[in-house]
Subunit: 168 residues, 2 copies
């Protein structure tokens, strides 16, 4: 919709139309905004770095899970990564399409698939881990080790508080 009424009113033409790109204090003070901005930016930075090698976060989550727990059903992967089962389908599709995982029917329970990591997948995992580490380091550049530790500890505590169940 739009306004058709242009019955020009007073509207002082000398209002503070200065070049103002200052962020309002009431906004700058919002903790949630600080958090959101930081997350948005780092998420984007990480996402772009991963995109350069054709990967996505979910890929790493699944590969890391397989690395630590071995062949798993998709339900297990979902539980461990926090990725919804519906989204896992696409993720496993992509990984399987690239030959990084194998998806086979479980003979013991024909409802489930056994997803296992291939050697190529393990290499992929290492590659992604490296990209993540490097990017992460760039993101945390302004902080010394103690501060990073501190930062991470605060976030851990916050998450424990917000998601007591461990999941997310």
């Amino acid at each position: 919709m739009q306004q058709a009424m242009i019955d020009g009113m007073e509207t002082p033409d000398d209002l503070g139309y200065g070049r103002g790109d200052a962020t309002p204090r009431q906004l700058r003070a919002q903790f949630g905004r600080l958090l959101g901005m930081a997350a948005t930016h780092s998420s984007r930075t990480l996402g772009e770095a991963l995109a350069e090698i054709g990967a996505r976060k979910y890929h790493f989550a699944v590969l890391a899970s397989l690395d630590e727990f071995g062949p798993s059903s998709q339900a297990q992967l979902s539980d461990r990564t926090g990725i919804y089962r519906s989204d896992l389908v696409a993720t496993v599709n992509e990984l399987a399409g690239d030959g990084h995982v194998r998806r086979e029917a479980d003979p013991a329970d024909r409802r489930r698939n056994v997803v296992s990591m291939t050697p190529a997948g393990d290499e992929r995992r290492r590659q992604i881990a490296e990209v993540l580490a490097r990017t992460n380091d760039a993101i945390l550049a302004p902080f010394d080790p103690a501060e990073r530790e501190q930062f991470a500890a605060l976030l851990h505590r916050l998450n424990d508080h917000l998601a007591p169940r461990g999941k997310w």
Copy 2:
């Protein structure tokens, strides 16, 4: 005692098929994930609190901006809040629909609109600020004042590093 209807059964929990909802370490260690989880949760918590009064974050951003800088063009609001111009259209639509802001054509420059806050809008701003403060406090419950300060400082530094231009 599981039934061995179909023979060839092995323990259903064999081959590492244990009940595992443990998050892989490689994931838990990712700073970006920590940040993302925290942001997702607090954002959701805040969003739900705001939804209870029919408000959204963008509303507060615009109202706060108008409160501090007075009547502004949408471009200015965009600059100051970080909300994209395309998204601002809808935000101003909503606020205007509720009588919280007025959108009038600027007689001095017919390209732009002058958005100004109404008395009802100012009251709305206070209401939202209160909800935000309360919710924020709940989110940060596990932290003492010093820690909150610290947390905010870290986030500020991170944001300055990630978005040196102040914008986002």
